[in-house]
């Protein structure tokens, strides 16, 4: 057992153990979930620490035979693009577990499903085999349905169905693309490195031009690429806190990760040809999400639309085909995962007390909820790209990358930052400033577990914002070979 397989299996085994615990013992269930998430978190820290930051290629490799006849191997490993994702996922898992302690309705099933989903995400980030990647990708997405339907709020049935159907629709695209790549590359192996080595031989340019959009659209569903984003507001709005954190924090990243790993890496020629199209879609998403967020009245909807906007940046960063932009895109995935986790943890804490998420009816909460105000404001500031918090450097790099290849796109994206300031400060100003109405005077500040989650995530936001160097070093070393395949570094 290596690090990566332990990280992946710990939540999964914990889910199995939890299913065996009688539901009358919620404390034990929480303890098992916490232990598993701590194990994954500590091990991913070790992976991060033991990773050679300046070396390209995959590290921490493991391989186990599974179906040799079809060239399917359980092959794991991380490079500079997936290692930050692993640690992001571990952080979201840990905080999601802790923030869900208060769930009283069927905690057993909740934790089991949540852990299975997160185990799937770990597997997809660590997989070096296209088939395993796809398998774990679906494992990650499908538990969302029961999680939202059983523990969700508002239009939960509709939202859960929509999320699942759009996820599955994306899977269909990916499935088609995956089989096509497998067959075209000689039907010998699903190994990603083997497939990548065929990018300039068996995977002909004509093939790549046809199947790149198939792959990109397939993963674009989960990455909330415009116009495939419509599951995001409903899904995040209806999902319980920890599920929103996982869905927005890491599932969306999984989509973008697939776009890079399977799309750009395996099909570089196709990526070159389709770059203008997806840059356009990303830009539309960025602007559109920002404009939409201004008009929303529900906290979660504002955040969900801002996520569409931020994922638009990620799509832009990936599709600019510039090294600077790709660096920014990957770092933005980390940053956005952390900040949305913080957002949804905080919104959930509020919803548990106030039972509403209407922006307009709050006011003056800074008076009786200072910690809450502080954490939420920091999340907003990170989201609007304030320097010193995690959002700034990645957005800077994405914009510079965009300016290198598509200056107009760069201008539009930068303008979106002003929109971000508008909708984020509107939230802060509405909810926390102004006179404190009597109705909310009884709200109390964060509970200890929520405080811990908030403080922990704020700490990560500051660390990534002030000292992004290790992240950028490892991302840069692994992104450079990807970009070299698509027409060279600029």
């Amino acid at each position: 057992m290596g690090y990566l397989s332990t990280i992946t299996l710990a939540p999964f085994i914990a889910a199995l153990i939890i299913m065996l615990i009688p539901s009358q013992r919620p404390g034990l269930i929480r303890a098992v979930a916490l232990v598993a998430s701590v194990i994954s978190f500590v091990l991913s820290l070790l992976v991060f620490a033991g990773y050679d930051w300046h070396r390209a290629g995959f590290q921490f490799r493991e391989a186990y035979q599974w179906l040799p006849d079809y060239g399917i191997t359980i092959s794991l490993g991380v490079d500079g693009i997936s290692a930050p994702m692993i640690i992001l996922n571990a952080v979201v898992l840990l905080t999601g577990t802790i923030v869900s302690f208060k769930i009283a309705d069927r905690p057993k099933e909740f934790y089991a499903l949540l852990l299975v989903s997160v185990a799937g995400v770990f597997g997809a980030f660590a997989a070096l085999d296209l088939f395993i990647l796809f398998l774990t990708y679906d494992i990650a997405g499908l538990p969302m349905y029961p999680l939202i339907v059983i523990w969700g709020s508002t239009r939960k049935n509709y939202a859960a169905l929509k999320l699942t159907l759009m996820h599955v629709a994306g899977s269909v695209f990916i499935w088609v693309g995956m089989i096509a790549i497998y067959v075209q590359a000689g039907a010998k192996s699903f190994d990603l490195e083997y497939l990548a080595s065929q990018a300039h031989s068996l995977l002909t340019p004509g093939f790549q031009i046809i199947f790149f959009p198939v792959i990109f659209i397939g993963f674009g569903f989960l990455a909330a690429m415009w116009p495939l984003h419509t599951w995001s507001p409903d899904g995040h709005g209806a999902a319980p806190t920890a599920v929103s954190m996982v869905a927005a924090g890491v599932l969306m990243k999984l989509g973008a990760y697939g776009c890079i790993r399977v799309g750009v890496w395996l099909l570089p020629e196709g990526a070159m040809v389709w770059s203008p199209v997806f840059v356009t879609l990303g830009t539309i998403g960025a602007v559109y999400g920002g404009v939409m967020a201004i008009a929303q009245r529900d906290f979660k909807f504002v955040i969900a639309h801002s996520s569409v906007s931020h994922m638009g940046y990620v799509i832009v960063g990936i599709s600019t085909m510039s090294l600077v932009g790709l660096n920014g895109a990957v770092l933005q995935m980390v940053s956005h995962g952390l900040m949305t986790a913080l957002f949804f943890a905080m919104i959930g804490a509020m919803y548990d007390q106030a039972h509403t998420r209407e922006v307009g009816i709050f006011g003056g909460l800074a008076r009786n909820m200072p910690w809450y105000t502080g954490f939420f404001t920091i999340a907003c500031l990170a989201s609007l790209g304030l320097p010193g918090l995690s959002g700034f450097i990645p957005e800077l790099l994405i914009f510079l990358g965009a300016f290198q290849t598509y200056p107009i796109v760069g201008i539009l994206c930068v303008a979106t930052v002003a929109l971000a300031a508008t909708y984020m400060l509107r939230l802060v100003s509405r909810a926390f400033f102004g006179p404190l109405s009597q109705r909310w005077a009884s709200l109390h500040d964060l509970l200890p577990n929520e405080w811990f989650v908030g403080a922990f995530l704020v700490l990560t936001l500051i660390i990534v914002g002030v000292y992004p160097t290790p992240f950028l070093d490892m991302i840069n070393a692994s992104a450079a070979p990807v970009i070299e395949r698509v027409g060279g570094v600029r």
Partner: protein, 669 residues
């Protein structure tokens, strides 16, 4: 001079200490935070003194540029890319005379204003938070001052914006204050979008944010002139936002919602100065393009006259000062635009002192009016509720008068010398319209400042009437006992001491720029070769005359029984209303926000929900249901239907397998 980095780091340390440790100390946190902040800023001032003395002996300039010392030039923060396209981001700091000057102004004023605030903010239950943010604010401004890397400057620049947001919205319980804070942040952010795009344009040409390399590329012509022009104008947009230049000035008067020490710091040495400082710092980029310089001149000129005219009719003492600031910033920008580099920055230098003094004086007045007017429902900021205060508040009165004279440009106070330098600069650049506007503005400035002084410190004590009226109205209420017989009184020594101390530079700061007497400023803070300044007696006379005329007119209108103001406002109601309503710029923006931005957002939201979501995405469900409803009709329940299909299928397979249709076999395999 390598220790200059301590200047911003000390206040940051104070912020961290306040927020992380002192916050937990219960009631003592207030005193501890204030002390820590004061100590840190005092330390920064000592750093300035050390740097200054170091620089006086070591910083050697050349014929065309003043001396320059870089710190952390080779210490990368992070790097991206692979060689030869390796982009290094280094937090380069600079020590030259421009940054030393600003270092001194910021630390000196920040220290005294903090000191003042210990008295002014006494009793506020978030006293500690106020000082913490002030420390961060000072640190961010020092970062802007010292950075020699556009990225680092942008970062500190944004942090300045954040701190101004927190400080303007300090008394967030008032909805209006929260709105003002938001407005300040978003308006400056709009400018910052331009700033950032300008930086990105330069970056894609040079591959670096380093100012040294960028300026070198601009000067050597490595960047095409069109790009330089566009990037210059865009960067200037950032300066417009921060320095409240028309039409991005709207946040500045509203920023008066913050506590007065905040206004003093924001409007003298820190936030608004950052814009002018940016123009000064990035001057090579602007100077390379005459178009950019034209834009800068135009914006500065418009802003100068625009702010001055609005200030004529305002009633709120802090708003008068705010529009005065806008006008004076326009002055500086105009000077920089016409090429009078030294003059513009000289005015930034002197203006910081007397404007801080004015704000602190205004704060002192408001501080004493608040208890008097509390419970009457009358605004303690309104100059028409004051009057006759010179007897009650002598220190405030004299310092305020001194600062006003300085602002009006009366020799030999600081303002005279810098204003004169600007007039000379405009004259020498043959910029006649700016020169005329500058003189007109000088006249208007003197007028509105003395209008303010006469209404506040002279004449009948209208607050007595106000309290009497208040007594009459609220005879049944008991919660304003304090205000019933209260009389304004001089502020505590913690507030009046800084007033007196700032008087010294408000008088003398200009003397280092007196042509012939001490050419220190012209030799050190300069762009290009040293220009031998000489005094132009005609211009000096005209400037002084404009000031004196303004004072005279104000005296005539407000100190003598001539009911001038009423006469004028009634003769020109439209003009008066336009000025009083600030040319309706706010209303125009509000209209744009309500009817354009929000309308577009609402429309987009409707389109997204009703069309993209309900019509297209959700349509998939009914479509599949409909398809299923049609398809299920084929399951008729009759065996012979199924059997028929089955047999036809079997036959088709049989035909294919037996090779009945050669083409089909080819297609399948």
């Amino acid at each position: 001079m390598d220790y200059a980095w301590l200047a911003p780091v000390l206040p940051i340390g104070a912020f961290a200490l306040n927020v992380l440790i002192w916050r937990q100390m219960g009631a003592r946190k207030h005193a501890l935070s204030a002390l820590t902040t004061l100590a840190a800023i005092g330390g920064a001032f000592l750093v300035f003194l050390a740097v200054f003395s170091d620089a006086s002996s070591h910083l050697e300039g050349t014929a065309t540029s003043s001396g320059l010392h870089l710190i952390f030039e080779d210490t990368p923060w992070f790097t991206v890319g692979v060689s030869p396209h390796l982009y290094v981001f280094a937090p380069t700091l600079v020590v030259d005379w421009l940054s030393i000057m600003m270092l001194g102004v910021v630390t000196f004023l920040a220290f005294l204003i903090e000191f003042y605030a210990t008295g002014y903010m006494k009793g506020d239950n978030r006293y500690w938070w106020f000082f913490s943010v002030k420390a961060l604010f000072t640190a961010a401004m020092l970062g802007v001052v010292l950075s020699y890397n556009f990225l680092l400057m942008y970062i500190c620049w944004e942090l300045v914006g954040l701190c101004s947001f927190l400080l303007i919205g300090f008394w967030y319980s008032e909805r209006a204050n929260a709105e003002a804070a938001k407005k300040a942040f978003i308006t400056t952010r709009v400018g910052d979008v331009g700033f950032f795009i300008g930086l990105a344009l330069l970056f894609i040409k040079t591959g670096t944010f380093d100012m040294k390399a960028t300026f070198a590329a601009v000067e050597s012509g490595a960047i095409d002139p069109a790009t330089v022009t566009i990037a210059g104008i865009l960067i200037f947009l950032g300066a417009m936002g921060k320095s409240g230049q028309f039409p991005l000035h709207v946040w500045l008067p509203d920023a008066m919602a913050g506590p007065t020490p905040v206004s003093a710091l924001v409007h003298s040495a820190t936030m608004v100065a950052a814009g002018v400082y940016l123009v000064g710092r990035s001057y090579p980029v602007f100077h390379a393009s005459s178009t950019t310089m034209g834009v800068i001149t135009t914006v500065g000129t418009i802003t100068a006259i625009f702010g001055a005219t609005i200030a004529l009719t305002q009633r709120d003492i802090k708003r008068i000062l705010a529009y005065s600031t806008i006008s004076q910033l326009g002055y500086m920008i105009m000077a920089l635009g016409v090429g009078a580099y030294t003059a513009g920055l000289f005015h930034l230098f002197t203006h910081a002192f007397f404007k801080a003094l004015l704000f602190l004086g205004a704060g002192s007045v408001i501080h004493s009016m608040e208890p008097v007017l509390s419970g009457t429902g009358r605004n303690p900021n309104d100059i028409f509720n004051m009057g006759g205060l010179r007897k009650q508040m002598p220190v405030t009165f004299w310092t305020f008068l001194l600062a006003s004279l300085s602002l009006a440009g009366i020799a030999p106070l600081a303002g005279f010398w810098s204003k004169d330098a600007i007039l000379v600069g405009a004259y020498e650049a043959d910029a006649w319209l700016p020169l005329f506007v500058a003189l007109l503005t000088a006249f208007l400035t003197a007028f509105y400042m003395f209008r303010c002084i006469y209404l506040v410190f002279f004449g009948p004590a209208k607050w007595q009437v106000a309290t009497a009226a208040g007594d009459h109205h609220d005879s049944h209420s008991t919660d304003h006992v304090k205000g019933r017989h209260a009389v304004p009184h001089e502020s505590p020594w913690t507030m009046s001491l800084p007033l007196v101390l700032i008087c010294v530079p408000a008088i003398a700061a200009g003397w280092i720029g007196i042509p012939g007497f001490s050419a220190g400023f012209a030799e050190t803070v300069r762009f290009g070769p040293v220009i031998e300044e000489h005094i132009n007696l005609v211009l000096a006379g005209a400037g002084t005359l404009a000031g004196v005329l303004g004072i005279g007119l104000a005296t005539l209108m407000y100190l003598t029984p001539v009911s001038g103001p009423r006469l004028i406002s009634e003769s020109f109601p439209a003009a008066y209303k336009t000025l009083y309503n600030k040319y309706y710029v706010d209303e125009m923006y509000q209209w744009i926000i309500d009817h354009v931005v929000l309308a577009i957002a609402a429309m987009a939201a409707t389109v997204d929900r009703k069309i993209l979501n309900d019509r297209i995405v959700d349509w998939c469900g009914p479509f599949l249901q409909g398809a299923g409803a049609r398809l299920r009709l084929t399951t008729s329940g009759y065996i012979y239907h199924y059997a028929f299909g089955f047999i036809i299928g079997i036959m088709a397979i049989g035909v294919v397998m037996s090779g009945g249709i050669p083409d089909m076999r080819f297609a399948l395999w």
